[in-house]
């Protein structure tokens, strides 16, 4: 069936991509299907679980609640931009060392939310970390190790030269 | 979810009963009713289009009269599905004689499933609003008859 589509330029993780998508296609689906960036996950498609969180112009947003065509003209950052297997982001390193993930489904959304949060609050209390992650649901870990990993990463990131 | 309320209709009880007992009157007053087709003596097939604001759906389903005690008790069972989920409800109407008026005590139990559960907390309010519209329409029919 024919439906309205648009060709837009998306700036994702520092690279520009030209995609032609149905106007109803969400940013989350476009990242995953058109750009092959499957690190962004779909948990609820209602904006509740946070697994789809990406940065839009540096701010964490739900990519399942954004149409791809709305992202044109903005900078999108996904979890793939945080680090590489050879050079993990301090948050990724901390999550690994402190067992901050089990199935890993919620993890990309949590990492993205924390990246933005720690930028604004480099020395958070545990309570502040918990509140910052209230919009990211994890069914595996019980959150304890997530908070520990976030604390460890924050400390590491505060060190000069990081 | 249980919901209940009362509504006063401006007609004596036997006239109210006659109206309730007439499927076409019910159909006219049911918000969003598009089709009502009898399947048997106590069973109907219905198509309704209901919703609030942008949330709207077309529901296909069945209505069964489960109790009929003239002129005081009338109970129905309703179920319907739309693309977004299903609704199941049982409703009871009790008509109390108030001389030239009739007090209708209505109560019901509503269940929703599928995507509709996202709005389950609004169901009682919606049901109350629809019931209000229904009884207001019946009242107008009774007054104008």
């Amino acid at each position: 069936m024919r439906e309205p589509t648009r060709t837009v330029q998306l700036l994702v993780n520092g690279r520009t991509h030209t995609v032609t998508v149905p106007v109803r296609k969400t940013l989350a689906d476009t990242l995953r299907e058109d750009l092959g960036l499957t690190g962004t996950h779909l948990g609820c498609e209602q904006g509740v679980c946070g697994a789809c969180t990406v940065l839009l112009d540096g701010q964490p947003v739900r990519s399942c609640l954004l149409l791809a065509v709305q992202a044109a003209g903005h900078e999108v950052t996904t979890v793939e931009a945080l680090g590489t297997p050879d050079r993990l982001h301090p948050l990724q390193q901390a999550f690994w060392e402190h067992h901050g993930l089990q199935c890993g489904f919620c993890t990309p959304g949590i990492l993205i939310s924390l990246v933005a949060f720690l930028r604004e609050r480099p020395s958070p209390t545990r309570e502040e970390i918990r509140e910052a992650l209230a919009g990211n649901l994890c069914r595996c870990t019980g959150y304890q190790n997530i908070v520990r990993a976030a604390e460890a990463a924050a400390a590491w990131m505060r060190e000069p030269g990081r | 979810m249980r919901i209940e309320g009362t509504h006063t209709l401006h007609a004596p009880r036997d006239r109210v009963w006659a109206l309730l007992d007439d499927p076409q009157s019910l159909a006219r007053c049911t918000p969003g009713m598009q089709e009502l087709r009898p399947l048997g003596p106590e069973e109907f097939e219905a198509v309704l289009s209901i919703g609030i604001a942008a949330v709207r759906g077309t529901y296909k389903g069945k209505l069964r009269i489960t109790e009929r005690t003239p002129p005081e008790r009338y109970a129905v069972q309703v179920e319907g599905t739309s693309g977004a989920g299903f609704v199941r409800a049982v409703g009871l109407l009790e008509l109390v004689d108030r001389g030239p008026q009739t007090e209708v005590r209505w109560s019901g139990d509503v269940q929703v499933g599928g995507a509709l559960t996202i709005g389950s907390r609004m169901i009682p309010g919606i049901a109350r609003m629809l019931a209000g519209q229904f009884f207001q329409c019946l009242d107008e029919q009774l007054r104008n008859a």
Binding site: L56, L65, F117 | V55, R56, G125
Partner: protein, 287 residues
């Protein structure tokens, strides 16, 4: 699930936006932050023929005080209001309540006007609008009209907006010195819709309460202001709580029974009033 097919316009002027709405009427839906509309589209609970995306309307991206009113344009994100020092100083009730709206990720996109136009019965911002006596500015091809908050919310998810109208601005009055404000709510989890929320304002002169404003959310299809409860509160905060319990008729549902909601209303009335009083008398800063 995925959104159903729709047509999409992203106008760059308010005139264009209003034209789109005029042409499509009931079949069109305005897309602002999308934090309430996209879930409905994803679940196909809403099936508009056409989406009018107002995110390119730079002319509606303003937040400033003018002649005693805080003017919030339709594109202003909730996060911007949360972080604004001007809002914190001039309309502290709004600054406090907006922090209860969802999560930071929601507030980065969600708009103040969008929340008002969506009119969820348990949403915080409609409660603030009613408590303060806000004004809503609405545009259509016919021009602009102003709707007072107490007439704007007409039912669950229903407002006085006509299908061809766009909410372009919300105006919140700046109250004089002597007023203290508080917003409290109870939820199952941080960021949920309120099981019951109370917006309270207390005006104190010579350490005595002279006037009170109270609005309840989650206690009915629209925010509720009860003058009888406000007058009772001028005399006695505790009595006001009991008045609220007696006069409110919330519905019960999966999350909370009607009785529990009435209980919350009673308790939160007292809590909100006491906090507002502390802030009016300088005993406690606004949040």
């Amino acid at each position: 699930m995925k959104p159903p097919v729709f047509e999409y316009c992203d106008p760059t002027t308010v005139e264009e936006a209003v034209d789109c709405l005029a042409e499509r009427g009931e079949a069109a839906k305005v897309l602002a932050g999308g934090q309430s509309l996209l879930p409905l589209l994803n679940l196909r609970l809403a099936r508009p023929d056409c989406l009018v995306d107002i995110n390119r309307l730079d002319e509606l991206d303003y937040l400033h005080e003018e002649a005693g009113w805080l003017r919030v344009g339709a594109r202003v994100r909730q996060r911007r209001v949360e972080e604004s020092e001007e809002v914190a100083r001039r309309v502290p009730l709004l600054a406090e309540a907006v922090r209860y709206v969802g999560h930071p990720q929601i507030r980065n996109r969600g708009t103040v006007c969008g929340s008002l136009a969506h009119a969820d019965p348990a949403a915080e911002l409609p409660g603030v609008a009613v408590a303060l006596g806000a004004r809503l500015l609405v545009r259509s091809r016919l021009g602009t009209r102003e709707i007072p908050a107490e007439q704007f919310f007409t039912g669950q998810l229903t407002t006085a907006l006509r299908p061809d109208e766009l909410l372009v601005e919300a105006q919140f009055p700046v109250f004089p010195a002597g007023w203290g404000w508080a917003f409290v709510e109870v939820t199952n989890r941080h960021g949920d819709y309120a099981l019951c929320g109370v917006a309270a304002g207390v005006y104190v002169e010579d350490r005595r309460v002279r006037d009170v404003r109270l609005a309840y959310v989650g206690a009915g299809p629209t925010p509720v202001r009860l003058r009888e409860v406000e007058l009772a509160a001028v005399e006695d905060f505790r009595v006001a709580g009991e008045e609220a319990r007696a006069r409110l008729s919330p519905d019960g549902d999966l999350h909370a029974s009607a009785e529990f909601r009435r209980h919350l209303a009673a308790v939160l009335t007292g809590r909100a009033l006491r906090r507002a009083f502390e802030r009016a008398t300088g005993g406690e800063p606004h949040a």
